[in-house]
Symmetry: C2
Subunit: 960 residues, 2 copies
Amino acid sequence: MANELLILFLGTILFLCVESKYIAYNTSQGVVPGKLNVHLVAHTHDDVGWLKTVDQYYVGSNNSIQGACVQNVLDSVVQALLADKNRKNGGMCMHDEASTHYIDMIDQTTLGHRFIKEEFGVTPRVGWQIDPFGHSAVQAYLLGAEVGFDSLFFGRIDYQDRAKRKREKSLEVIWQGSKSFGSSSQIFAGAFPENYEPPPGGFYFEVNDVSPVIQDNLDLFDYNVEDRVNDFVTAALSQANITRTNHIMWTMGTDFKYQYAHTWFRQLDKFIHYVNKDGRVNALYSTPSIYTDAKYATNETWPIKTDDYFPYADNANAYWTGYFTSRPAIKRYVRLMSGYYLAARQLEFFSGRMNSGPNTDSLADALAIAQHHDAVTGTEQQHVANDYSKRLAIGYKEAEQLVSSTLACLVESTLPAGCQNPVTMFQQCPLLNISYCPASEVDLSHGKNLVIIVYNSLAWRRNEVIRIPVIDDNVAVHDSNGTEIESQLLPQAEVFEGLRNFYVKAYLGHTPPNTPKYWLAFTVSVPPLGFSTYTVSTAKRTGSTKSSVNTYQSNEKARFEVGQGNLKLTFSTDEETHSNYVNIRSMMDKQVEQKYLYYSGYNGSHQKDPQNSGAYIFRPNGTYFINHERQITRLHKEKEHVEVEFIVGPIPIEDGTGKEVATKISTALSSKKTFYTDSNGRDFIKRIRDFRTDWDLEVNQPIAGNYYPINLGIYIKDNKTEFSVLVDRSVGGSSLEDGQIELMVHRRLLLDDSKGVAEALNETDCVADDCRGLTVQGKFYYRIDPLGEGAKWRRTFGQEIYSPLLLAFSEKDDKDDWMNSHVPTFSGMDSSYTLPDNIAMITLQELDDGAVLLRLAHLYEIGEDKDLSVKTSVELKKLFPEKKIKEVKEMSLSANQERTEMEKKRFAWKVKGSFGDEHVLSRGGPVDQKELAVELAPMEIRTFIIYFDDNDMPNLLSDA
Amino acid sequence: MANELLILFLGTILFLCVESKYIAYNTSQGVVPGKLNVHLVAHTHDDVGWLKTVDQYYVGSNNSIQGACVQNVLDSVVQALLADKNRKNGGMCMHDEASTHYIDMIDQTTLGHRFIKEEFGVTPRVGWQIDPFGHSAVQAYLLGAEVGFDSLFFGRIDYQDRAKRKREKSLEVIWQGSKSFGSSSQIFAGAFPENYEPPPGGFYFEVNDVSPVIQDNLDLFDYNVEDRVNDFVTAALSQANITRTNHIMWTMGTDFKYQYAHTWFRQLDKFIHYVNKDGRVNALYSTPSIYTDAKYATNETWPIKTDDYFPYADNANAYWTGYFTSRPAIKRYVRLMSGYYLAARQLEFFSGRMNSGPNTDSLADALAIAQHHDAVTGTEQQHVANDYSKRLAIGYKEAEQLVSSTLACLVESTLPAGCQNPVTMFQQCPLLNISYCPASEVDLSHGKNLVIIVYNSLAWRRNEVIRIPVIDDNVAVHDSNGTEIESQLLPQAEVFEGLRNFYVKAYLGHTPPNTPKYWLAFTVSVPPLGFSTYTVSTAKRTGSTKSSVNTYQSNEKARFEVGQGNLKLTFSTDEETHSNYVNIRSMMDKQVEQKYLYYSGYNGSHQKDPQNSGAYIFRPNGTYFINHERQITRLHKEKEHVEVEFIVGPIPIEDGTGKEVATKISTALSSKKTFYTDSNGRDFIKRIRDFRTDWDLEVNQPIAGNYYPINLGIYIKDNKTEFSVLVDRSVGGSSLEDGQIELMVHRRLLLDDSKGVAEALNETDCVADDCRGLTVQGKFYYRIDPLGEGAKWRRTFGQEIYSPLLLAFSEKDDKDDWMNSHVPTFSGMDSSYTLPDNIAMITLQELDDGAVLLRLAHLYEIGEDKDLSVKTSVELKKLFPEKKIKEVKEMSLSANQERTEMEKKRFAWKVKGSFGDEHVLSRGGPVDQKELAVELAPMEIRTFIIYFDDNDMPNLLSDA
């Protein structure tokens, strides 16, 4: 067989090479104390989509865009590792840290960690966030310390910060990301000296790379062992100069490398062999874990780092704060799917998980992929963004089927005995955001009634207004008791109609058959983890109101007030951006101004610093106010916040300039340069304008450099008042003036910003040849509270935004008595029970083995709310009224090991200075297996696997 | 271990891929009769130096010039072949066919074929000359049929020829390259439809190649099996349309591919699997041998092809005829080393080959490498040309040491008993061509005598004038008998002095200490395979002449005649390029005009067809005569040819234009557009100006398109006369007008010709910062004979040019009687014996096992000379007077199998038309093991391994 290789050789030549002597390289070297140890960490960074889709990267198609094939990496790395047991390699992918929500991060990490545990029996010990564009506190403490990591490594920190850390040898720190957890949230965190590539000096060894290979065959020309050893030692000493201890790490790889792993390992083998023969420094095959152990073993004392590493700039005019908002529609889609996934898993548990047949797995996969740092970030190419959306849509489709059939089984009362072939057909309306809901837009005039199941995935009872489009203007709503309830018919705003028609055609390929004239709105009341049923009919309305839209001429002077509850807003037509905000309960009476503006995207083409504004980078070039953006401001009678629904786009580009649209809400609060933004929707972090805690900031970009990622909200305060804004998706925002909050809501740019994506962020939607710039529709919410009272709304309403009510529609005949023949209301929990106000259930998921994964999250930080920032208890038994709990195992956050095992292994790093830890009792106590009460301290998230009596104990985790 | 691979995976994503189902591809398909069979021939074309040196290609260094690493290819191909026994791959390198001499081609092929036999036990059956720029008759019949090949494949033939062959389905032919051997020289020869790359349609699968990979995983997006199968079938049917039989070959690879072989085989596996499932065509892993067998099995009748495939043009203005002359200095160096290697091996045999210690192996290797189609061709980058020269110099150095010590042993008469530490120290003068010979430039005034050993590697006695530089003007020469012989002191021409000083400084780093004023010339007489000894002393000269150089003013009118023998040339100063050529013996009396001219190199930069003249391409843009080139014309008394030594260069480029210098020798012969050029120094092939035998030539380049490679010589004739020119190296030449012959002797070009080398052919030599365009010094020889009498000179003198006398120098004291204390003359053959005039010994080489490799070559074609084109016998016993021959095995030309075995296997192809074979008895008969007389028919080369009584029979070949 091997003969065939040579059967056609005509020449004499190649055997000169074949004959060269065999050299056995000694690659077994470990750490050598007293020497400078160069930890060679072979790694490949395999983006889960970026310039190509994740599948294209895997199979190596579409190489004209980027030469990359992960299949090559896997195939060849396995071969190379088998060939020498001393070799090591990491293949890594990683979620984003700015535009991701902590619940999504936990889900994604859990999926990965449990896969690794099941397939390889391995529990990861290290976070490897080398590429995300800035680093969050939640990543460090929650997705770091709380998943049992001993260390966390990353490549991208602010260039000014990096320079200072190099000088002070503080690239490596102990990062304490949580105020509430204190020292128990500490993790060793290493920022790399430059990036995540090999050090300068020629150490790239991919097929066809140009670094000089080690030529150690004396029979050939150009023998260069000494030269290359010198190069190695020089690079090592240079890095040692900026590093504490005598351990340095070399990240030997970069994006999609190791396609033929042998090319790297051949050289690494030689370097280890010859460098150690030389003896000046010690080179070894290492991993981040080995490196971490070596660092720990030195007993060094480390500088402390708190808060986070946002925003990230790699250059004076290159603030990576544009991507906080880039692709706002995808960002919203991801968030919408996250909430749906949470709800669908609950219903999947109620009906019993099916491994084949509709389940939530493909939605789980799609969401996990969407968390990638070139997915939800908006920094991927357009065709890749389309791919992420497609995956989400496919995942949704399957989950939607599961949800519909589970709801059908629940209303038919076949559960928990089993759910097979329910009769009731439920429809859902994923395009409700663009007023398109065929299920509700039905003709009810001939004795048809609309049945609406309203599912609440929160573990609290919930009263909320829902809105559905209807074509009839004479409808009544009845609740589960058959009682007619108050409802309101709101005329469809004209601006929505064009949007609806265009996007339904774009997404579904046809124009909607009807044009519903009204939104039907009514308040629903739904039990925790449960549903209520409402019917809509043409029965005579009583006690319902029909609304109309007031239009006014711009020259008409008028004042009008909205708000039927405690909160009232008064607008005046001559200054339409201003309103008077009055809450008669809390006695808040403030002037609020809300405006839209755009930043002109910087065009660096002929400039000294050619940096453009683009998908990653926000580099504004002038601020311009706009007065024609469309929005709807809503107040709900029982709520005390303002809901603003905006429609932004298409952003005009006829002038050849990209634009980034923001809204600015101004108050008179004396916020003293200070504002607060959430970290991945969890902890709030104090931000000070034009200031960084870790270094003396040189301000180059006074706008972009003050932008931060927002996933939950942003607030400011003065000595009396808090002003909070909550968001429906990940956006960038800031407070650029005292009293003011701004959110960037949409971006359309015509130039690439030279950070790799090689495409302008110019999103369009097309119906045949009619391509229009993307229109983005979204909501934000604001509220003014007395100082100290805002957290309650931010936390509670934040959960409601993440977990919107899920609506399912069916039809019944007028004569059918649905409420008596079906289960009209349901709660998955004990009907007497609800979770405390400060606790949320963020995961309820049946695992493959029938056990249940449960996560409970305390929603408040220490000191955040005077009543709710307290240790609180949850009764597990009440959560599973129909089941008998056999055992509860507390797990690490990613559920791949028992919590007690994880705690036992935790490293206790030495920290510089007297950084006292005042919160000694920052955690809930152990769970008594009889009482089954779970205590949660502020910000605590506890993860359990719960085994019921009808389940076998699983193999995987029983031996942990 | 494999766990390390994944220990750092944080994500969820890659396992989507890892989980994909395992598909077992069926790759075992063989030929299927009745279907179109697509033979997939996986191959990598690994140039033995081109843009990088051979070692750089091997280890993969200098990748900034070209990403290429043969070590990757070998490592990964072996793995891939081991993984599936159905897979096959050829790694190929190949000598050039235009600028190579047949003796070098034989040596190179023998080295390779014997290596393959020894290492792998394999005898190649196929010639794979896919890249050389045109194809020679000698390659087809001598390095093809005569090495036992059944077929020969190549990529490059004239674009007009290719177009016609496609139309006529005659890309595949039976090539009969020898007039003398007739049908026994036939070989199946396939020109590829385009080149040696995969067919159009996206079938490149190197790492990062952009062809669509087969995506057959239904769990991923972009499944494309049907599309790719259709692409395959389309490409196959397209090729089938221009091919006879239902077998087509796909060359699945190209330059330096298969660096990670798995990337190709993964796709080829899938293609074979899915295409055969589809069933429209049959795809199989194949080799050129399997393909050849399949072709043969069809019993098809094939068109015949004679002569060769020169010149090659791939475009109307892209005639690859420049490289026939490119890098004339390297071409000469290679030829000089070839002759030296032939001589050194003889001496190595006489002294007994040493496996360690000085031997000819490294010169053999260097010469083999130098035959590469981007080496002696001159189409490599400058740094690579330097590398080839360095290798030759290193090989020479070792061979020189062997030659000196063997000669010392021979003169000390310690052989054949053994040659250890001889006392005599011999020096040689490799820079004699630039008049630099420290060994002869010694001060003889103080009783020192110069001893000169003159070794003749031809198997004929030889009388010839030798010339050495001396510093004394009062020297006498004595022969082996102590008799003073006639000698001549010729003043050193001034033009040589500057050249000598510059180049000695450039090559050796110092200026020569002496400036010898004279060439000492005298006639030596040397026995076959032997030497004579001459001494030079300051003893009083008798019967010697001292010459002077005549200079004349250009306005001075004069005639002068040179020539002391039969041949006389008369020049007149008023028309210096003309001479009158008179041979008083043969009665030839002709006017001869010799001129230099240059062609302006075409600059296509702003032209419609941007093709430049360059290293490969000859595209002249105007012809200009020069009258200042320097040359010396010599006539030797006992010879009847004119020797012209020219010095051309530095070619001026101050005008920004490259130039290509030719010399044109014109006579009044009525040659009727016809001329004859040798094929690799062996057969002469008839050429007709502006005409091709195989198609109706469209003439686009009337100069470049009529150029042919010349290694031995070129001649024209009319009905009375022959005019022959012989060359000292490979050059390009033509006869562009009747009666005229031209040779291109030097080229200096300022533009790259876009055929890949990416460098202008602008050779310079530097002494410190003084860089000058390369000066080329060389010789050609011409002679005019009566019709039918030229061959004798061409053949005999051609051997003398190839095998110049080898000079070794020593010193002795005036008082030492060297001739009596040393062996003054020697012949390796029986002293009574000499080879017949029509037979040359082209190889005499001791093999590793002590046996001897002997090649005897008949020098005449059938009908070439009325006396010498006859079957002739050689007595082997007389060649080895000191040894007892135990056995003589006749071998294939490349000595890797017994001739009888080879003949048994030979395919008998069916040929179209009644191409009768008139030369039935075109071969010598078998060798009687007693008589040991070897018969050689015209053009026959017979190869023997001869075992002597003191040798063991080798294992390798006894089982053949």
